[in-house]
Amino acid sequence: DVKVTQSSRYLVKRTGEKVFLECVQDMDHENMFWYRQDPGLGLRLIYFSYDVKMKEKGDIPEGYSVSREKKERFSLILESASTNQTSMYLCASSMTAVARDTQYFGPGTRLTVL
């Protein structure tokens, strides 16, 4: 079975802090994604990566950056956390860079910025 893990289930940070969210997949998938989930808005794509060191902006990249130095690991970085970044963050991976491929999701990180 594909396993996608995220570094924390719950995280509390203060405004202005630099925050790292880590995601690791164990199936040699090419594609990795970061979403945020807010009530009534569904999942919104922040960034995705289709190869090591490659990244593309999603629908809401402002205030975020990403890093993919190794194929299995995709990091989401909040350079200076703000209260409006309080949300559930979900990481996903898929085998290839084709939208019809199944996306496998991690358990999510619920981030609270005070």
């Binding site: 009534g40 569904g42 999942l43 794509l45 995705f48 979900l90 939208a99 019809r100 199944t102 999510g108």
Partner: protein, 109 residues
Amino acid sequence: GIQVEQSPPDLILQEGANSTLRCNFSDSVNNLQWFHQNPWGQLINLFYIPSGTKQNGRLSATTVATERYSLLYISSSQTTDSGVYFCAVPPTEQRKLSFGAGTTVTVRA
């Protein structure tokens, strides 16, 4: 970009009841997926269904691509069916998916 609308936003069912969830999308697509998020937050893929009908146990899905909608049927619902159901379609950029806002289903024993 493509708009994805799901209805109803919330659904409360008695165990054993049947229900239908709807997903409308604003543009032609060649890919549509349904996902379930359990109450603990874990999201799993239920169906890849760009057109036609598929069944998986008590769940089935139908997509009518020419009319830009998809339906997810839950039969003989169980408490384990509770959670949020999302449909997702690719926008112009084919390497990603756009998600609807979801339908929250609560099945009561």
